[in-house]
Amino acid sequence: MKGLLRSMGVTLSAFMRKPVTREFPETHRELPERDRAFPLLLWDFEQTEPFCTGCHACERACPVECMTVLMKDNPNHKSAGGDSTRRKIIDKFWIDYGRCMRCNICVEVCNFDAIAMNNTWSGHEMSVYDRADLVQDLPQLLSESRGGELKAWRAP
C-alpha cells in the first residue's frame, strides 16, 4: 500500500508542474541555430548568382548518392564580358530529399561555402503525396536563401 501511495504522490506532483507540451501545428518551438533539416544552396547577393560552381565535391562525398550536379561555363564571367569571378557555375542541381540522410557531410566538404543545412521550419514540414515531389531542383534549392530568410550556420 505504501508503494502505491508513493506512486500517487508522484502523479499528484506532476499536476503542479508547468506543461511541456505544445500544440504543434498551431505553435512552433524555436529551432536551435544548428538545426539540420535538409541541404540547401546559398545565393551570393554580391554577384547575384549561386555560390555553387558545380565542382561535384558534395556529390562524391554523399553516402546515399542523393545529389546530381551538372556544371557549365559561367556566361557572366569576366572573360565573357560579365563581372563575375566564377569561371564555372552550377547548371542543374537535384537533391532527392527522400534519400538524403542529413549527415552534414556535403556541407563539410564544400570548398565554396555554397551549401548549408536548412535550419528553419520549412525544412521540416514538407510532406508530399508523391515521392517524386521530394526531388528538389536548382530554383527550389535556392529559393530559401534568395528570399533572405535563411541564416545558415557554419561549423566554427
Binding site: 502505491l4 508513493r6 506512486s7 508522484v10 544548428r34 539540420r36 562525398a61 549527415c103 552534414n104 566554427p156
Partner: protein, 375 residues
C-alpha cells in the same frame, strides 16, 4: 467402475500462437511463435530479420566519415555509443591520438545518451507491464530535455553523426556547461520520479519479481552483457574492467542485481542512471578548453592494413565493432557485435514456463532495439 478427475476427460493439445511482428509489445518488428498450454508458455521460437538493412555491408562501401551515419541507424536509442565504437575502431587502426577535450565531451555525451536510452526503457517497460501512459510520458518528458541538448549541439534530434575519427565534428555550444547543468537537474528529478512511481509499487513488484530469472552462469553462457548480465550478479562493466576514453579517471559504482529477475534488471538500470549523472558531474569539472581534433588531419583518412576489434559499454551491453582494413579509405569488412542480439538469445530460457503476459514483461526487460539485432 472408472473414475475421472474433472477436466481430465479430454486430451489437451498445446496451441501455437503468433506474436508480432506488428505487435506493440515487441519493441519493433520482432516475431515470436509461442507454444502455449493454456496460459503457460511451453516453447518460444523467435524470428528476427524483419529490420535487416545490411548496414554492415553498406558500411564497407563507405569511407570512414560516411560510415558514421550508418552506425547511428544501427542503434537508434544510443547513437553516440554506437558512433563511439566505430570511430574508436578507426582511430585504433589509424593510430590517431584524440585530444583530451574531445574525450571528455565524448564521455559526457555518451553518458547523457545512456540516460536518454534508459529513460526510454523505463517508459516502455512500464507500458509492457501495463502502466500505460503514466510512466511513458513522464520518462519521455525527461528524455526530451536531453534530446533538446543534443539538438543544440549536433543539430539533429536522433541521427547525430557528430563524432569523427580523431575527435568531434565541431565545437559544442558556448552555453554547454550551463545547459548540461539544467539537463542533469531535470534528469535527477526524472530518475526520482520513475523510482517513486514504480520501484516500490506493489502491483509493479507483483508483475516483475521472480519473473524471467536467469542465473549468472546461464547469462554468461548466452553471451549476455550490460544490465541483463549485471542483474544476474556479474559485475562486468567494460567502463570498469577495460576503461576506454577517460573512465579510469572518474569514480562510479557498478550496480549488480542478486536474483537476476525482471525486477533486478529494472533496479540495475535505475541505479545506472544515477551513476551516469555522477560521471557527467565529474566530467564537467574536468572539462578544459582545448582542441577537439588532432592537428594535421588528412582530408581523406586512410588506414594501414590490419584488423581490430573494439568494444565499448553501450546502454544495452557490449557494442563491439570488428573492422578489417586492407588499406585505403574504407573498411574491407565491418562486423557489429550487437549486445541486443546476444541478450535476445536468452529470452527462450527465461520465458519458458512463464505466463504469456510475463513473456511480454521479460522481453521488455531485455530492452532490445530491433535495428541493432538485425542490422
Amino acid at each position: 467402475m472408472t473414475t475421472t478427475t474433472p477436466g481430465q476427460e479430454f486430451e489437451t493439445q498445446d496451441l501455437m500462437i503468433n506474436m508480432g511482428p506488428q505487435h506493440p509489445a515487441t519493441h519493433g518488428v520482432f516475431r515470436m511463435v509461442l507454444q502455449v498450454d493454456g496460459e503457460i508458455v511451453r516453447d518460444l521460437i523467435p524470428h528476427i530479420g524483419y529490420m535487416h538493412r545490411g548496414a554492415e555491408k553498406l558500411a564497407e562501401t563507405m569511407d570512414f566519415r560516411q560510415g558514421i551515419g550508418y552506425m547511428d541507424r544501427t542503434e537508434y536509442l544510443a547513437q553516440f555509443n554506437a558512433e563511439l565504437s566505430y570511430v574508436m575502431a578507426v582511430e585504433k587502426l589509424a593510430g590517431l591520438e584524440v585530444p583530451e577535450r574531445a574525450q571528455w565531451i565524448r564521455m559526457i555525451l555518451c553518458e547523457l545518451n545512456r540516460l536518454s536510452s534508459h529513460f526510454m526503457f523505463t517508459g516502455a517497460f512500464g507500458t509492457d507491464i501495463g502502466v500505460f501512459g503514466t510512466a511513458f510520458v513522464y520518462s519521455f518528458r525527461e528524455r526530451e530535455t536531453i534530446l533538446d541538448l543534443f539538438e543544440e549541439i549536433t543539430g539533429d534530434r536522433l541521427m547525430y553523426a557528430y563524432f569523427r575519427p580523431g575527435g568531434l565534428a565541431w565545437e559544442v555550444t558556448d552555453n554547454f556547461e550551463r545547459r548540461v547543468g539544467e539537463v542533469l537537474k531535470s534528469a535527477r528529478q526524472g530518475i526520482k520520479d520513475m523510482d517513486g512511481l514504480l520501484t516500490e509499487n506493489e502491483i509493479f513488484r507483483a508483475r516483475t519479481q521472480n519473473i524471467g530469472i536467469i542465473s549468472a552462469a546461464d547469462a554468461i553462457d548466452w553471451g549476455c552483457t550490460g544490465p541483463v548480465l549485471r542483474a544476474s550478479g556479474v559485475p562486468l562493466d567494460l567502463r570498469k574492467t577495460e576503461p576506454y576514453l577517460r573512465y579510469a579517471e572518474v569514480d562510479f559504482d557498478v550496480p549488480v542485481g542478486q536474483v537476476g529477475d525482471t525486477y533486478d534488471r529494472w533496479l540495475v538500470r535505475i541505479e545506472e542512471m544515477r551513476q551516469s549523472v555522477r560521471i557527467i558531474e565529474q566530467c564537467m569539472a574536468k572539462l578544459q578548453p582545448g582542441p577537439i581534433m588532432p592537428e594535421r588531419m588528412p582530408r581523406m583518412l586512410r588506414t594501414p592494413p590490419g584488423e581490430v576489434y573494439l568494444r565499448t559499454e553501450a546502454p544495452r551491453g557490449e557494442f563491439g565493432v570488428y573492422m578489417v582494413s586492407k588499406g585505403g579509405n574504407r573498411p574491407h569488412r565491418l562486423k557489429v557485435r550487437s549486445s541486443c542480439f546476444a541478450n535476445l538469445q536468452a529470452l527462450k530460457d527465461m520465458a519458458i514456463g512463464s505466463y504469456v503476459a510475463d513473456a511480454v514483461a521479460i522481453l521488455g526487460s531485455l530492452d532490445i532495439v530491433l535495428c541493432e539485432v538485425d542490422r
